[in-house]
């Protein structure tokens, strides 16, 4: 049985694509973003056990060398996430496609579809293809929320059952992209073009950082010229909430000023992205 690590499932979400959607967050990420506000989703637990002694309600223990999480006892204080040196979480469940389907079954009548996210859910492409096939049989749509590392063009089986991809373009200048996310920008931009060409670019998102005029402008201009009015362009403000302290020192303690961010919405529209908006 194919299994994938699931961080959590939110039955109803209004911010992960159009309509009401169930969001499924997978664990593990190819990127390592400085401004990540869910850094505990970056890697899979390596059972080092450091978190065990910190849990105030003893909801974590070690069994057969693996960390076991007691969801009943857990009080969601997030201490384990804060102390994890590996950007991981012990509160992850390895699930089969059937497990996931069972979990989302009750939400099905109320939702327009599902969105898989992460971490980076495209670490598990064949799992997604199987999940999407089953969900689509029930008349619901399936969206991927992706960082753009995965080569979608190489996976027609997945693209057949995927209704759209919400793609992050965090930066376009190669060295800045690498510095920001520890990964090359080239596959992201290749995906941008590919998804546009097959009509499966659901939306593009860019986080506007404080005091990064040149980088912000370059990214917004590039994306806007590429996508034009063909899909929404979501301009997101950087918020320090959830960001690791050591990265907050680099990225800043202040959230991006809304007026400043709004200026990039205007820039985006000027450069052709007619559906640019800020959240």
């Amino acid at each position: 049985m194919k299994k994938a690590p699931v961080n959590r499932i939110i039955p109803f979400s209004n911010v992960d694509g159009p309509g009401n959607r169930t969001s499924i967050f997978f664990q593990g990420c190819t990127f390592h973003c400085l401004f990540c506000h869910n850094p505990e989703t970056m890697t899979c637990c390596r059972s080092c056990g450091i978190c065990l002694s910190y849990c105030p309600v003893k909801a974590l223990r070690k069994k057969d060398g693996k960390i076991v999480w007691d969801s009943e006892a857990c009080v969601q204080c997030d201490t384990c996430l804060k102390v994890c040196p590996h950007f991981s979480s012990p509160r992850v469940t390895w699930m089969t496609v059937e497990d996931v389907l069972n979990q989302i079954r009750r939400a099905m009548p109320y939702i327009d579809g599902i969105t898989t996210s992460g971490g980076d859910c495209t670490l598990y492409p064949s799992f997604l293809a199987e999940l999407f096939t089953a969900v689509k049989q029930q008349g619901k749509t399936c969206l991927i929320d992706a960082n753009g590392a995965y080569d979608f063009a190489s996976d027609p089986a997945l693209m057949d059952v995927c209704d759209g991809v919400m793609l992050d373009v965090k930066a376009v200048e190669p060295s800045w992209h690498r510095e920001l996310v520890s990964f090359d920008v080239e596959p992201v931009l290749r995906n941008l073009d590919y998804l546009l060409s097959v009509g499966k670019l659901q939306e593009v998102r860019t986080v506007i950082l404080p005091n990064r005029d040149r980088e912000n402008s370059e990214t917004v201009q590039f994306v806007s010229q590429r996508i034009g009015g063909r899909c929404p362009y979501k301009i997101i403000r950087y918020r320090p909430f959830g960001v690791r302290p050591e990265y907050r020192r680099i990225m800043g303690e202040e959230e991006t000023d809304p007026v400043y961010a709004e200026s990039f919405v205007l820039l985006a529209r000027e450069k052709g992205a007619s559906e640019a908006f800020m959240v």
Binding site: P11, N14, V15, G19, R21, R106, Y110, S117, N147
Partner: protein, 506 residues
């Protein structure tokens, strides 16, 4: 100090509120309508509650006049001809409303406003029609100063419906309460979305399960007061309620409760209702001389008695010895299943009772999930709702509601409080409402956490008006006081907020 002196010296009461208070006091001086000693004992210990309906019922509690008849024939008593244009139509309604009695002294049902006014609205240009409707709504808000005043729209889209939504949003008024009668085949997604958008900005309209109500009442039903299902051209005689938690205090265990305690209290409440209904029909003058009756705007046979319950959650939790509400009714399958057993028992016994003067409903009363009153505190949650502070995620809460809403033809509902981002995503709310109505939900209300107009248990108040009362100033809306009490005693505005959660990982 005498109660009369207290009323006339209360700085927060308006003249009209004093008058109503004094009238209630006067009504309470006559004890000739008597009940059994057992009834009084049950009332004394708080197991039964008459919702301060008054000792001398001189009118039915809720009246839903047939406004179609008014527009067709006019009204002799009020010397009103059938309206010929929009101005006349709203003027006729404004006058008529002032003469419709109720427990609150204000009309609890204003009519299916879109359907009634549409023929007049479409003959005018839009701007003019909107101006007239805005003055009409202002008149209602300033003259019918009570949040239990309720208007209905839908299920079909209409110019008038759209104008009423636009004005509701622009004017931000707590009065009237508003309901969309939603039918998936008759209500377009576009109109329903406009209603969701309006609801997120003004806490109204609520969504009523049109199909469910039509099945029970026929097409001529009204949603009145909080969320009460009643017949148009009729209404509700009386609405007492069993306070199920207090009832449960008498029981040894769940079996004893269902077998012995429950039937005793049900029968006492039925005794109260029978006597009261008979009195209203046989003794008071309403059904003999009031113009609403003599001219046919209401018919006695279209009235019904409403059998109310509150506090099912606390009742179940008590019977099962559950102290932590977060592990109780609505979150604990055993407690929820007990709730169904109790409701089945209540439904069975009430529907076996032959009720006087309920001709159009096979001579039976119908159940009502009473929404609570300000003095309930945290002892009894409204109807069958999950207690404030224990609400699970929205999906779980809806599923529990879907199990219990079918029991209550004369009304029930739940309230969902949404966080800011939902204003921009009404299309994320509509599928939830549609699915849940399709699965047995009767009535859905929502509001945004930061609005001034908010829904307290079942009615609308302005937070800014509650603030006025706290500063010992008067509030024109006589329901603001209940809102303050419900918030102070029952934390009614602290319903769980439906948050989107931050997307992870990016």
């Amino acid at each position: 100090m005498s109660e009369a002196l207290r009323i006339i010296q209360d700085p927060t009461l308006t003249y009209r509120q004093e008058l109503v208070g004094l009238a209630r006091l006067g009504e309470s001086t006559d004890d000739s309508l008597r009940y059994s000693d057992a009834y009084y004992a049950a009332k004394e210990k708080g197991a039964l509650c008459d919702l301060n309906e008054g000792k001398m019922p001189f009118r039915p509690r809720y009246i839903c006049p047939d406004y179609d008849l008014l527009f067709e024939k006019g009204c002799d008593f009020l010397q009103l001809d059938p309206p010929k244009d929009l101005l006349e139509a709203v003027n006729v309604l404004e006058i008529f409303y002032c003469h419709v009695p109720s427990i609150t002294t204000y009309p609890v049902y204003l009519g299916d406003l879109d359907r009634l006014l549409e023929p007049f609205v479409i003959r005018e240009n839009r701007a003019y029609a909107k101006k007239v409707l805005s003055l009409f709504l202002r008149n209602i808000d300033r003259v019918q100063t009570d949040s239990f005043v309720h208007a209905d729209i839908g299920p079909e889209d209409s110019v008038t419906g759209r104008l009423l939504l636009e004005l509701t949003e622009e004017m931000q008024l707590a009065i009237p309460n508003l309901t969309l009668r939603y039918d998936p085949e008759k209500t377009s997604d576009d109109f329903a979305l406009a209603c969701v958008r309006c609801m997120l900005k003004t806490a109204k309209p609520s969504f009523a399960n049109h199909r469910m109500f039509v099945e029970e009442w026929g097409s001529r039903y009204a949603i009145a007061s909080c969320y009460n299902g009643l017949s148009i051209g009729g209404g509700g005689y009386t609405l007492p309620r069993m306070r199920l938690y207090e009832c449960a205090l008498d029981a040894k265990d769940p079996e004893d409760f269902i077998a012995n305690v429950l039937p005793t209290y049900i029968d006492l409440q039925l005794e109260y209702m029978d006597k009261r209904v008979r009195f209203i029909v046989e003794e008071s003058s309403f059904f003999k001389t009031n113009f609403l009756v003599t001219e046919g705007f209401v018919k006695r046979e279209n009235f019904i008695g409403m059998f109310g319950v509150v506090g099912l959650a606390e009742c179940c939790n008590h019977l099962l010895g559950i102290d932590d509400v977060k592990k109780g009714f609505g979150l604990n399958p055993e407690a929820t299943a007990l709730g169904r057993k109790i409701m089945d028992a209540i439904e069975k016994r009430v529907s076996a009772h032959v009720a006087p003067y309920c001709d159009a409903f096979d001579h039976h009363y119908r159940l009502h999930a009473q929404v609570g009153i300000d003095t309930d505190g945290m002892d009894d949650s409204p109807g069958t709702r999950i207690p404030i502070g224990a609400e699970p995620c929205m999906l779980d809460q809806l599923e529990v509601n879907e199990q219990f809403h079918p029991y209550f033809p004369t009304g029930t509902g739940d309230i969902f409080k949404f966080e800011e981002t939902y204003v921009k995503t009404p299309e994320a709310v509509l599928p939830i409402i549609k699915a849940s109505l399709g699965r047995g939900l009767r009535y859905f209300s929502g509001y945004l956490e930061n609005n001034d107009v908010v829904r307290v248990t079942g009615y609308l108040v302005k937070k800014s008006e509650i603030e006025k009362l706290r500063q010992k100033k008067q509030s024109l809306n006589q329901v603001t006081l209940y809102g303050m009490g419900a918030q102070d005693g029952g934390h009614a505005l602290d319903r769980r907020v439906q948050h989107h959660e931050e997307s992870a990982g990016k």
